[in-house]
């Protein structure tokens, strides 16, 4: 199921349930409270009507009264309680049954329809359809009993009780029970409730329709960025890594879009790196093949010459020297390649070593070379302990010195000092060789890259020295940094970790208390 449908379904469910429940409880409460109010009114009205009936019955006995009707003096002995009511006058003239007439007249004076039952349950008079003997049976003297009734579209409340009649006249006939019931019409209230329900029905339909439209818009609004994201992801899967999402707001969607864009950046960068790596590998193989081909061509050529031709001793020696020389180049190439391979595939545990002694040792190892090449070498090293691999670091320094010599340097300065924070030990190799163009600096650590190929090959270089040195620096948690200007020489620097707990970590003092510093001049 689509997210759009899920949001729509869930929203409709929540909205529908909330609206239905609210409507149900409101309408139910309204009906209940209306009926309760009506029953309260009915009981109040009943109390009033009961007083009216009781007080009327109080004087309703065998009284004699005169009635002037149509200018004729009439005399009657009927039971009556009033001489002012026109309805009673009419009843008297028509000579109706006295008791039925009395209750009919009495009922007509009440504001609500009423019914009277005798003590034996016989109906004396009723202004509405008989409520049924069940209700009459429930009536007592001690309570006002009420019951809801429905009739057609309307309804009413029947209220009743048993009245014990008393009389203040001489001819007392106290103690007789009379069942008195009134009917309180609640049709209007029920009709109002019905109107309220119809109104709710219309409101519900309008609100649900509007709510569903809003939900559709909301779902579309919420799922649009996701759809967009899905489209972008598809295009990325097809190889277009430049696609990005427009980020709006700081909500979850915005954060997701941002994360997606970051992921796309990372993927694109990774892909670029992979492409670059692949290119570099291709270049490496091509360069390697080329580097192999040159000395091999030379070796094969000279070997063929020796084999094919009758050469003088001098010529044979010269050809053999060339073969030997190219052989040396191949040997150097294979050794460097082997070192590079080893460096890439092996772990080198770094040990705590005194940096000044290490540099001193490396310098001493290079001293014959410097003497041979007439290099003015100077070493200045602060005493400190560093985390390093002795052999690798020596290889690195030899490679850097070798590179300086190949660049035609006559002076090399090697220095070592701790940084200001005391966390890194900075080693710097400065020469006064031919220097490099700035654009060359970014590529000089690539394998087989040579600034001056002719000169480099002449010196048995294969363009692997700085690549090897950079790899060693990386194994020590850093890289090589170059500063160079053509004609002004080159400065190469890198740093080593200083062990944190070592008390001699930052520029520790020698035994005499002064700063320990190695110095060597060749």
């Amino acid at each position: 199921m689509k997210l759009f449908t899920k949001i729509f379904l869930l929203g409709t469910l929540v909205f529908g349930l909330a609206f239905s429940a609210a409507g149900y409880f409101l309408l139910h409460y309204s009906l209940e409270s209306s009926l309760a109010r009506e029953s309260e009114f009915a009981l109040k009205q009943y109390q009033y009507d009961k007083f009216t009936v009781l007080s009327a019955m109080l004087t309703a006995t065998s009284i004699t009264f005169t009635l002037e009707q149509n200018n004729e003096l009439m005399s009657t002995n009927y039971m009556a309680y009033t001489i002012q009511n026109s309805a009673l006058q009419e009843f008297i003239i028509q000579d109706k049954h006295p008791e039925a007439g009395l209750f009919e007249t009495l009922a007509s004076e009440l504001s609500v329809p009423a019914a009277f039952y005798g003590e034996n349950g016989s109906l004396l008079y009723s202004a509405f359809p008989e409520p049924g003997s069940d209700f009459v049976d429930t009536l007592t003297e001690n309570a006002h009993t009420w019951q809801f009734c429905t009739n057609g579209d309307g309804g009413s409340i029947l209220v009743g009780s048993a009245l014990r009649l008393e009389n203040i006249s001489e001819a007392k006939d106290d103690g007789q029970l009379l069942y008195f019931i009134t009917q309180w019409d609640i049709s209007k209230t029920l009709a109002q409730q019905n109107i309220l329900r119809q109104y709710f029905l219309r409101c519900y339909l309008v609100a649900m329709t509007a709510g569903m439209v809003i939900l559709i818009l909301l779902s579309a609004f919420l799922t649009r960025p996701l759809n967009k994201m899905s489209g972008v992801a598809c295009r990325m899967a097809e190889g277009d890594y430049r696609e990005r999402l427009s980020r709006k707001g700081r909500d979850e969607i915005g954060i997701l879009a941002e994360s997606f864009n970051r992921m796309a950046d990372a993927v694109e960068e990774k892909i670029d790196q992979l492409a670059k790596g692949a290119r570099e590998k291709e270049d490496f193989v091509a360069n390697f093949a080329h580097e192999l081909k040159t000395p091999l061509t030379s070796i094969i050529g000279y070997a063929d010459t020796i084999y094919q031709k009758e050469l003088s001793r001098e010529e044979t020696r010269k050809a053999s020297w060339h073969i030997w020389n190219e052989g040396l180049r191949l040997e150097a190439l294979s050794l460097k390649l082997m070192e590079l391979t080893v460096l890439g595939s092996q772990d080198f545990p770094l040990t705590e070593l005194p940096a000044d002694e290490l540099l001193q040792d490396a310098a001493e190892g290079l001293a014959p070379l410097f003497t041979e090449k007439k290099i003015d070498f100077q070493l200045q090293a602060e005493h400190s302990y560093v985390l390093a691999d002795y052999d690798l670091l020596k290889t690195l320094l030899i490679n850097l010195a070798d590179n300086s010599i190949k660049a035609g340097a006559t002076r090399i300065d090697l220095s070592g000092q701790t940084d200001e924070a005391g966390k890194r030990y900075l080693i710097r190799v400065r020469d006064n060789g031919c220097g490099m163009e700035p654009e060359e600096l970014s590529r000089i650590t690539e394998a087989f890259y040579m600034v001056d190929k002719a000169r480099s090959r002449k010196q048995h270089g294969a363009g692997l020295g700085l690549a090897l040195a950079d790899k060693v620096a990386a194994l020590h948690g850093d890289r090589l940094y170059f500063e160079s200007r053509v004609g002004d020489g080159t400065t190469v620097s890198f740093s080593l970790d200083i062990p944190p707990e070592n008390p001699k970590a930052s520029g520790s003092t020698a035994a005499d208390g002064g700063p320990a510093e190695e110095e060597m001049i060749v």
């Binding site: 409709t12 529908g16 409507g23 139910h28 009216t52 004087t59 001690n142 009993t145 009420w146």
Partner: protein, 287 residues
């Protein structure tokens, strides 16, 4: 292989559309089904409520209290001045009333009617010189009420309930307000078309004095004529203090003569309507 994949995707998509379609149908069913549920539920509730009933328990029947015939009036007891003040205060309009059944210590309906009739026939009618029909010839209507204070019958003071009694026949129409405990007439309005023989100022003052004394002897009974000493058809109220706490009896009386044509349409028939209103009040300038 690719074709197979496309076919699978297409089948999945058509399945997805079906599920989405079902989801939308379910949403519509929820939306409009809820309406029918509400309507059905409400109809059932209404049916249930309309089949219900109840019972309002009434206080137990009272034992009739002893009332004393003083010769021209019947009372249970005299209210104290303080009680009379509270009674007058409770009757100050506007008053929401609550009808109730007589409680223990209160007059029954027949006793209330008897008190009113005796007061009318034995106290007021002789003083005004009215000769009316006998006791049983009245149309009676009465009800017992108390000012609505939100208190239940048990919490309410029984002497702050009142019987409203109206007695009427062809010549006299009287509306009484009786204290439900004492049976004292706190307010009475009488309209009379029968001849009133004693309606001079002296006769009315005698009636007014008698009415004030009816509440007991509370100090000086000098009448305040309220700027108009002559009795006429102006209905000006007269006041008489009961005690010194701002409680007054008030009397307003008037006499109106109306003329109408007789049965033969040639002769004019005159009829006098005498009305008198006596009541208890907290204010001597209220009208």
């Amino acid at each position: 292989m690719k074709l197979q994949k496309i076919q699978q995707t297409s089948t999945k998509r058509s399945g997805g559309y079906f599920v989405n379609f079902l989801g939308i149908l379910a949403a519509l069913a929820i939306a409009f089904g809820g309406l029918f549920l509400v309507q059905g539920g409400l109809a059932r509730e209404e049916e249930k409520l309309m089949a219900a009933g109840g019972m309002l328990e009434l206080p137990p029947p009272i034992t009739e209290i002893e009332i004393t015939d003083t010769g021209d009036t019947i009372i249970n007891t005299l209210l104290t001045e303080e009680e009379l003040l509270q009674v007058a205060a409770s009757l100050t309009p506007p008053v929401d009333v609550r009808l109730h059944e007589p409680l223990q210590g209160q007059l029954s309906m027949s006793q209330a009617v008897e008190c009113a009739q005796t007061w009318l026939e034995d106290f007021m009618m002789p003083l005004l010189g009215i000769s009316g029909p006998s006791i049983a010839q009245y149309r009676t209507n009465c009800y017992l009420w108390t000012p609505e204070t939100g208190k239940s019958d048990q919490e309410a003071q029984p002497w702050l309930s009142y019987w409203s009694v109206s007695l009427s026949n062809q010549e006299i129409e009287a509306s009484f307000l009786l204290n439900a405990v004492s049976g004292q007439v706190l307010d009475v309005l009488v309209g009379c078309t029968a001849p009133v023989e004693h309606q001079d100022q002296e006769d009315l003052i005698e009636l007014f004095d008698a009415y004030t004394s009816y509440f007991g002897e509370y100090g000086n009974h000098s009448i305040i004529f309220n700027g108009e000493s002559d009795f006429g058809a102006k209905k000006l109220p007269w006041y008489q203090p009961i005690g010194d706490n701002g409680l007054y009896t008030v009397m307003m009386a008037s006499s109106t003569i109306s003329m109408s044509r007789g049965a033969d349409s040639n002769t004019l028939v005159s009829q006098e309507l005498f009305s008198i209103h006596l009541y208890l009040s907290l204010d001597s300038k209220e009208e």
